[in-house]
Amino acid sequence: MRASRLARTLQYGALAVYMVFLGFPLVWMLSTSFKPPREMVEIHPTLIPHNPTLDNYVAAFTEQELGRAALNSLQVSLSSAVLTVLVALPAAYALARFKTKLGTAALGWVLLSQLFPFVLLVIPLFLILRQVDLVNTHAGLILVYVVWALPFALWMLQGFVRNIPRELEEAAAVDGATRLQVLRRVVAPLLAPGVVATSLFAFISAWNEFFFALVLLKSPDLATLPVTLARFVGVEGIARLGPLAAGSLLATIPSLIFFAFLQRRLTSGSLAGAVKG
């Protein structure tokens, strides 16, 4: 499995192209967030501002309550991510390992619920949450996010469960382990990469979700980051680009940090060792 030098060079080249394509907005936001208004409309935009300024950061924090919005978002997103995984993991295991009519129905439902135009679901959803007094609460929003992330979580996790050789579990079962023990000792560690991918998905989609946060939360104290950032956009899509870029850059970082900690787990291939052992 040793790659030749040429192959390595090509790999680094390809990786560099990918990084530019996917990562350039970070540089752009960084550059824009330090530009004074005049430099945003130059016909030949420059990377490094001529007269860098901190005004955009000051504006972002003084005019809208970004700090509180960030805390709100953090609370909502973390709760959604944890709850989604907790709820989805056992269900995904059941769906992947046992064929039941219920399982087929559930998977079908998962797809259907993602397919139907969600704009048409908003109003009924709103009415239900209103009846149980969860409108204008973070708990209501979290509930919506969990339900929203569940289809992806279930669908993905059951794919990962299927990837785990059944022999492993059977071997453990033969050794006298109960199903719960099998789950905990054998399945859970092997599922770590899938769980990372899923919780990341749940976290980021909650972190960046706009529409439900907009319609479900009325009190200014509860507003999340995306809703708060949108206030820098005005009529006809004209934006106050400086504060928006500053705020957006800061809003991007937590997800990246979250992932930086998790990414090692993504390929913690303990599978090989497990099969041998």
């Binding site: 130059e42 609370q75 706009f210 005005g234 006809e236 106050r240």
Partner: protein, 425 residues
């Protein structure tokens, strides 16, 4: 690992139940102050400050009518309002625009303000403007900020071409405007940038110059007609782009402020657009760049369709009278002038306009802006049921095709009329 997750989530849940709920609007108890929610769409720094200060001041002076300031944004306000109306949870007072509140009014969500508005406020605003917020005889909102279409120009390029700047009220005719655009066009510079990403409202507004109505109502039946009057504006703009080549074809797909880099770099000499563009001039024009505001262009008249920003009150609000008191206060001449200045728009109130001229000395184009208010009036399309649908489904694609030189003027006319038949059944 699993155990850790459970512990974390339990902790989070406990935290949630403690501080997650902000539902404090249970004001059903008859005692205590009336609580009102006010959804504002302010987004410019000055206007944000003005909005918040006015609300704070009101709350300090009126302990029995407390207004909660809620910030919205223009992009999502429609979805937000529609959802909250349907869910029975709408703000008591909200800011929006006449073009959009008509639908809400017809759907029964807005309080009729005709009996609530004081005669003072009524008298401040012209009848033509009141008509833009009156649907089926009901007043759906108080109009307070106007955006007229003016022309911003690069002063140095005008001087170089020997073109004098017309004073406020001394509008160029379309012929003069087109001739001057021609004079300003040379290699590397177009006379004009027409930003036509959303062409329909632009064309509808300006078509009043030539009395182009598009919608004709006979009894209960409304239909779209495209005659010579309606064809004037599209034809003139199209000719500037493709016949005399005095307008840039690249600008056609641009939104309101997209031409600014080219304008500041001298690529476009004139930029027709809303009066709010003056703010971008002040904030973003490079050092040494001189700009002027030219009065609206005129055809048979300088009339334009008015689409004022409005303050409306929900039908479901429990304190309509109190809400109206707040609106009256919020829009008194001094406050209205301040709000207009913060958003670089024209106030609907006469006194507010005068105050604005005094406080700014008419500089930065305020003379032209305030004077242009007199040309703003109602256009037929503004009260037509189904206009939004006609606009999005038929008019916008057809106009985009015409301005991209893909179809002829006659084909444009046919498409607009046929679209009308589909929508106005």
């Amino acid at each position: 690992m699993l155990r850790k997750l459970v512990a974390v989530s339990a902790a989070l849940l406990i935290g949630l139940s403690g501080c997650g709920s902000g539902d404090d609007d249970d004001s059903s108890s008859s005692e205590g102050p009336v609580k009102l929610r006010f959804l504002s769409l302010a987004w410019q720094k000055e206007s944000l400050t003005a909005n918040r200060e006015l609300v704070d001041k009101w709350n300090a002076e009126h302990p029995d009518i407390q207004v909660e300031y809620v910030q919205g944004d223009w992009n999502s306000v429609h979805d937000q309002l529609l959802t909250s109306f349907e869910g029975g949870d709408a703000p008591d007072i909200f800011q929006y625009e006449s073009a959009a509140i008509g639908e809400f009014a017809k759907q029964g969500y807005l309080a009729d303000l005709s009996s609530l508005v004081s005669s003072d406020l009524k008298g401040e605003i012209s009848d033509g403007i009141w008509k833009t917020v009156t649907f089926d005889g009901k007043v759906a909102g108080v109009p307070f900020l106007l955006e007229s279409q003016v022309v911003l120009a690069n002063k140095k390029l005008l001087d170089a071409a020997g073109i004098t700047v017309p004073a406020a009220g001394q509008s160029w005719t379309w012929d003069e405007f087109q001739a001057n655009a021609q004079k300003l066009t040379k290699s590397g510079t177009y006379g004009v940038a027409w930003a036509l990403k959303s062409p329909t409202n632009r064309v509808m507004n300006l078509s009043l110059n030539f009395d182009g109505k598009f919608f004709y109502t006979d009894g209960s039946k409304t239909e779209v007609k495209v005659g010579d009057a309606e064809k004037e504006i599209p034809r003139r703009i199209h000719d500037m782009i493709y016949v005399t080549k005095s307008a840039s074809p690249d600008a056609v797909g641009m939104g309101g402020t997209d031409p600014l880099p080219g304008f500041f770099a001298g690529k476009y000499a004139m930029l027709p657009g809303g009066v709010f563009l003056r703010q971008q001039m002040v904030e973003q024009a490079p050092a040494g760049f001189e700009w002027v505001t030219l009065p609206p262009i005129k055809g048979l008249s300088a009339n334009q369709a008015a689409n004022p920003q409005t303050l409306s009150i929900s039908e479901d609000s429990k304190g309509k009278k109190q809400a109206m008191q707040f609106v009256e206060y919020f829009l008194n001449p001094a406050n209205m002038a301040r709000l207009a200045q913060g958003d670089w728009l024209v106030p609907t109130g006469k006194k507010a306009g005068e105050e604005l001229i005094t406080s700014t000395g008419g500089k930065q184009g305020w003379d032209v802006a305030v004077a242009s208010a007199g040309d703003l009036t109602i256009a037929p399309f503004q009260t037509v049921d189904g206009y939004p649908e006609w606009k999005t489904k038929y008019a916008t694609p057809a106009l985009q095709q015409y301005f991209a030189n893909k179809i002829t003027l006659d084909q444009l006319g046919t498409q607009l009329v046929d679209g009308g038949k589909q929508v106005l059944r």
